[in-house]
Amino acid sequence: MGGFLIGERGSSVVEDIVLFPEQYVSQVEYFGSPHAQADLLRNISAEKKRVIGWWHSHNHMPAFHSGQDDRNFESLFNSVAPYNRIKLGETRIPVKSVEDVILEDGSHGVRIIGSAGSSDIVLSGISSGQFGQAFELEEITSGFAYSIVVSLSKGKSFYAEVLYELPYTGEPVKLRGVPLEVITSAGSSGGPCVLRDALAEEIKRKVRISEGESEYEGFKSESVPEILAENNKRAQDESSSGVEDKLKSSQSRFKENGNECVESIEGVLFSLSVPPELLYQPELRNGEQLQKYSEEKSPIDLHKSLNQSLDEGQLYLVERLLRKFGISLDNFRVSRRRFR
């Protein structure tokens, strides 16, 4: 028997757990209906929650990860890690210098010379005095997923694993035998309210014993990849539209106030129309392929996004993102754009 671990966006805390809605359980495995799981995922998303992991019970088998558990966990990680990013820290790297320059077309602008190996950025229509204390802000983030196994073997026991991405490289790292740290709600009196009878009714409603595979053969014939693709597309659309709104509001503030930083790196990521899954496809980590992918599949054109007004904070993040994919800002004619 199993289900999802649920958390808040941007948080790594397991706030709640849910039971898969329609599952058949045998002595050694369980299988849930993909369609029922898709409905569950939609409901979780509608409540502004996130799936941050997976749990299952081993009944009287010791708590550990079998080979099948490993495969299931890795599959879940690939699905949810792009959306479960948390900030681990940040670095502030001073910009080496900002100097006034006259551009080829005779207009005035500035050249920003970065540090830590970043390339120069040339902006037109602004002066160095507008920068104040310039620095490069580097957020350190990571995508992750959890797996928890609960067993009744020799008393109740838990076993947990974490899969997370190494910052910068995105390489997945697996931590085995990770301890659980129970968070007690501050100010609650009498402890949490978990109604045993309600859970029992839920199990009766959702879980069936399977004597063999015949009961769930039908489920296995459903097209799981298609359902996952549909869910991923929905999640991507949802994320893109949300950040689009955020970006628009950020741009309107820019027009009023002059220099204002973007609210989050994510906003820039999506303004560039880089779908989150792109960051997890090594074959697309190449400038030419990224551009092709963006032009063909992305709802927002990469050039169009870059031709919109960006302040220097946004621009740095754009530049950093492009550099990640081996693209130079010069390819996008940033120096020829005029800022208000």
């Binding site: 028997m1 671990l5 649920i6 790594s12 805390v13 397991v14 706030e15 709640d16 757990i17 039971l19 359980v25 002595q27 749990w55 019970s57 009944n59 009287h60 088998m61 948390i86 681990l88 820290g89 940040e90 670095t91 502030r92 350190i140 959890y146 928890i148 609960v150 067993s151 009744l152 073997s153 109740k156 838990f158 947990a160 974490v162 997370y164 190494l166 910052p167 910068y168 490289t169 790292v173 931590l175 990770v178 301890p179 659980l180 740290e181 129970v182 968070i183 007690t184 709600s185 402890g191 949490p192 309210c193 978990v194 045993r196 859970l199 029992a200 199990i203 009766k204 879980v207 014993i209």
Partner: protein, 56 residues
């Protein structure tokens, strides 16, 4: 970049960073209790408490 290097960067850049984020899983008390209770209830309700484990 090695994990140690990243840990070093994190510790150097964030003064309050004392423990790696994923060295443990933080779970609410409610979720933890539900997890244990689900596991206990399944054998009781579905009658799976049979001596099959010995054959594994």
């Amino acid at each position: 970049m090695s994990r140690k290097k990243i840990d070093d960067i994190l510790r150097a850049s964030t003064p309050n960073f004392s423990e790696f984020e994923f060295s443990r899983i933080k779970i609410s008390e409610t979720a933890y209790l539900k997890l244990g209770m689900y596991a206990e209830l399944v054998p009781e309700i579905l009658g799976m408490d049979v001596e099959w484990a010995a054959s594994l």
